[in-house]
């Protein structure tokens, strides 16, 4: 490739990455704007429903005679649906009034049936739109959020409210371009200058520019999220003040609970006089966006909601990834330019071989891990988990449970030393098969046998009932685990012992070393990495115990994974909501961090094994 060609493709890669980052930013911003539009549309619908009176009662039907003639058809008298809907002229007034509210930032449209009320020349909805609203509860239609307008009892859909978010300019530049756009231009120009001058990108600072782009995009994103909350607060504040004067009489003082019914996903509490701009504060340790609303002479309330910008942190990863596409692409170009064709081919083939496993790990392991972090944010979830006594209770019982691991490893090592001599013959083979049994048996089956022995009282134990009593359930589980793990561990130590060259032991024996000395000086040091590996694997598996605890001790000692399962899916197995999944993910992340103590050294041992041989 010619230098110019290379520089051109490097610039193209940088431009592509910048465009990708801008697109991602735009997409996320739209998400926040849409969420805001839906929210304000719902609030508006609730407001309209609350302040519009029912239609006046129909004029009484005059009848000629007291007794109707038998042959006269019985006319169906209009039933309650009419009285549940709205007085159309007032609805029209209320809807038009929305446009003239001072400080109102959103374009709203109220539909009665399919007909628009605010802007009468606007195209009407199609009947399908209303039908689909019924099942979906709200949907995005032609750039605006459409939510149903229910009748006064909240039963049937009589119309719809549409809200279109107007873009709020952000950033320091004129035209509201934000920070991201100038940063993107900067990154592309930077890459072009560096590439066409033939400098190394490493010294040129393009990576820094790409990171700057990610940071600028994040700032824009955060500003949009913040302003979406602010706009909802200011608009809702206007609606609440209107509602306070317009809620149907007889009512001299509007009650706070009536107003709170209009804003179901926010709190309304008595407050102090303040300025009209929203502010941020911590309420009971949780961040809140607040605005003060005047609802009567000298009566102030605070409207509080969760600020949207606390959820922006989860997008930072995505922005960083898309911004770094540029440097990575340029690196790839650089590599392709410098590498001979044969090596390029080998690399491509190797990637082909890696692709199935790599893609699977990306989709089913790394992706989910990132998703778990996304679910677990905001950080308040972690705080709740840490302050939850059940977390520490499950940690304690699992930690106690894990104490069986060193015991089982010591017994397994001893057993392996004893059995090691009888490698051949049917006795040794039989014992090996017997040791394999608990290692390969269905875990639930082992648990069931254990419970049977516990309840039926075989083997001279008496009907102990250990598993069903909370005080003894944990030791009983430990015994079960000890038994279940012992066989496999013994077999592993046997395999390890068989790999120790006989010459070492024989030489020591010739030198007159006692059996005890031979074990401490030769066998054990040679087995040390394996012993550590077995201990660490055993501990990791012990801290993740689930099946036996789940099957045997419903409501007994809750172990860690059981607690996480309970957080996510409740006790029974019903489906959890996003809040439940967030808590459970936060719990699992903390568990993962705590287990690094064991999983990191285990990884080192595995890595060391992979380097040998």
């Amino acid at each position: 490739m010619s230098p110019r060609g290379w520089a051109a493709s490097a610039t193209a890669a940088a431009a592509l990455a910048a465009a990708l980052t801008l697109a991602v930013t735009h997409w996320i911003e739209r998400r926040y704007e849409r969420a805001f539009a839906f929210r304000i549309a719902r609030t508006t619908a609730a407001y309209v429903a609350a302040v519009t009176p029912p239609p006046p009662p129909p004029p009484p039907v005059r009848r000629r005679g007291r007794i109707p003639r038998p042959q006269a058809p019985i006319t169906p008298v209009p039933q309650s649906p009419a009285s549940r809907t709205y007085h159309l002229p007032s609805l029209l007034t209320q809807a038009r009034g929305l446009r003239t509210l001072p400080g109102w930032t959103t374009e709203v449209e109220v539909y009665y049936g399919t007909a628009p009320l605010v802007d009468a020349t606007a195209p009407p909805l199609s009947p399908d739109d209303l039908l689909q609203l019924d099942s979906a509860g709200g949907r995005w239609r032609e750039g605006s959020a459409l939510v149903p307008l229910k009748d006064r009892d909240g039963r049937e859909i009589v119309g719809a409210v549409a809200a279109r978010p107007l873009r709020v300019p952000t950033g320091p530049l004129p035209g509201g371009l934000g920070f991201a756009f100038p940063a993107a231009v900067l990154a592309v120009v930077g890459a072009a200058v560096i590439a066409f001058r033939g400098r190394s990108l490493r010294s040129g600072g393009y990576v820094g520019a790409a990171l700057l782009l990610a940071a600028a995009s994040y700032l824009d994103l955060r500003a949009v999220a913040r302003s979406s909350t602010d706009r909802w607060l200011t608009d809702t504040r206007r609606l609440l003040q209107e509602a306070a004067t317009r809620l149907p009489p007889p009512r001299s003082r509007v009650s706070v609970s009536d107003l709170a019914a209009l804003v179901q996903d926010a709190e309304l509490v008595a407050g102090e006089p303040a300025e009209s701009a929203p502010w941020r504060a911590r309420v009971d340790g949780a961040p809140r966006a607040i605005v003060a609303v005047l609802i009567g002479s000298g009566r102030w309330v605070d409207l509080r909601t969760v600020p949207a910008e606390i959820t922006t942190l989860r997008w930072l990863l995505l922005l960083l990834a898309s911004a770094l596409v540029g440097p990575l692409g340029i690196l790839l170009l650089r590599w392709a330019e410098r590498t001979p064709a044969r090596k390029r081919r080998e690399t491509a083939i190797a990637w082909g071989f890696l692709a199935p496993a790599g893609l699977h790990l990306l989709v089913f392991t790394l992706g989910p891990a990132a998703l778990a972090i996304y679910l677990a944010l905001p950080l308040a979830n972690f705080r709740t988990i840490v302050h939850d006594p059940l977390t520490w209770l499950s940690m304690r019982s699992t930690g106690l449970y894990a104490l069986y691991v060193p015991v089982s490893v010591v017994i397994a090592l001893g057993a392996a030393l004893l059995v090691h001599r009888y490698r051949v013959g049917w006795g040794g083979r039989l014992l090996r098969s017997a040791l394999l049994l608990p290692y390969v048996t269905s875990v639930v089956a082992i648990a069931l046998v254990w419970q049977l022995i516990d309840q039926a009282g075989t083997l001279g134990l008496g009907r102990s009932g250990w598993l069903s009593s909370p005080a003894t359930a944990l030791p009983a589980l430990m015994l079960l685990a000890l038994y279940a793990q012992l066989g496999g561990q013994t077999l592993v130590f046997l395999a390890g012992l068989e790999r120790i060259p006989r010459v070492y032991v024989d030489a020591a024996r010739v030198d007159g070393a006692s059996a005890w000395r031979r074990f401490w000086r030769i066998t054990l040091p040679l087995l040390r990495p394996l012993t550590w590996f077995v201990v660490l694997t055993g501990l990791l598996s012990a801290f993740q115990v689930f099946t036996i605890a789940f099957v045997l001790t419903q409501g007994g000692p809750r172990v860690l994974v059981q607690r996480a399962y309970q957080l996510a899916w409740g006790g029974g197995g019903g489906s959890g909501g996003s809040q439940a999944f967030g808590m459970a993910s936060a719990f699992a992340i903390l568990l993962c961090l705590a287990l690094v103590v064991f999983s990191w050294p285990r990884l080192k041992l595995l890595g060391r094994y992979a380097q040998h041989a």
């Binding site: 891990a369 679910l375 269905s442 069931l448 046998v449 022995i453 279940a484 990791l540 993910s585 992979a610």
Partner: protein
């Protein structure tokens, strides 16, 4: 002297497998036999009635089929993906190889509980809840399997590879026709480990399957336990039935199964 040793080993084997012998013994008892005191160790009049009943009530055919599909597909999937990836890591040179291998290894630090929820959301989003793809798809790659296959490919001599190349074998032929057959012991080991692991998989099937039609061995057995709690002979018959396939396979492949000791550390997912 020698025979007493053998006898001792035999007795030890019986002691180790006592719970399993007891499991089989109880499964042959009548329903009321365990109520006597002291509880009998052996059935008075062995009967296979429990087995016949458990076969129908479990329902065994369906559970066996589901578990076999799960274990079989995962076995094939893990062997293929691990062999391919292990081969690339062991026998090819490309930039970033060691870094990627380290990254693969690092995923082992993520505990299953962390992945279960987002994986469930993923499977749910695709509409795979309560289906075979949902059950199988997440398990198709095993990093430990990749390590195992990599070690096995590392041991193979360079001469074989060069001889095959001289004969004009392409990359794929070299892998599929030459190297993979040479790594057969590791392939069998990995297949057995995968089979055993999936036959006893509990947490993921518990979460991702709903209907009785999709129940796999462990979940069905736990369900059976709560339905027929108290009737031990019946439950033990079901337990024996559910465990039997994995017992047989693993006892036959015992020699190969234990070859994996370096990577498994012999920990049972309890």
């Amino acid at each position: 002297m020698l025979s007493t040793r053998k006898l001792g080993l035999g007795l030890l084997s019986v002691a180790v497998s006592a719970p399993f012998l007891y499991m089989v013994s109880v499964s042959l008892m009548g329903e009321s036999e365990l109520l006597r005191w002291p509880p009998p160790l052996l059935p008075q009049k062995p009967t296979f009635g429990n087995y016949a009943a458990a076969l129908a009530a479990l329902p065994y055919a369906k559970v066996f089929l589901n578990t076999a599909i799960l274990a079989g597909c995962v076995m094939v999937g893990q062997v293929l993906t691990s062999a391919a990836a292990g081969y690339a890591f062991a026998r090819m040179r490309f930039p970033g190889r060691d870094g990627i291998f380290a990254a693969f290894l690092a995923t082992l630090m993520l505990p299953a509980m962390l992945l279960v929820i987002p994986r469930f959301l993923l499977v749910n989003a695709v509409g795979w809840v309560d289906t075979y793809p949902g059950l199988i798809s997440t398990e198709l790659v095993s990093v430990l399997g990749i390590v195992l296959m990599r070690q096995s490919f590392l041991m193979l001599p360079r001469d074989v590879e060069e001889a095959a190349r001289l004969d004009g074998a392409g990359e794929w032929t070299l892998f599929w026709r030459v190297m993979l057959p040479l790594a057969r012991p590791a392939v069998i080991t990995l297949a057995l480990l995968a089979f055993m692991d999936q036959w006893r998989n509990f947490l993921w099937p518990l979460i991702v399957t709903r209907s009785a039609d999709m129940a796999v061995a462990e979940v069905a057995l736990a369900q059976f336990h709560s339905t027929y709690s108290g009737n031990w002979p019946y439950q033990m018959a079901a337990a024996v039935l559910v465990t039997l396939p994995v017992w047989l396979v693993c006892l036959i492949g015992q020699r190969y199964l234990m070859q994996g000791w370096r990577i498994t550390g012999a920990a049972v997912r309890l």
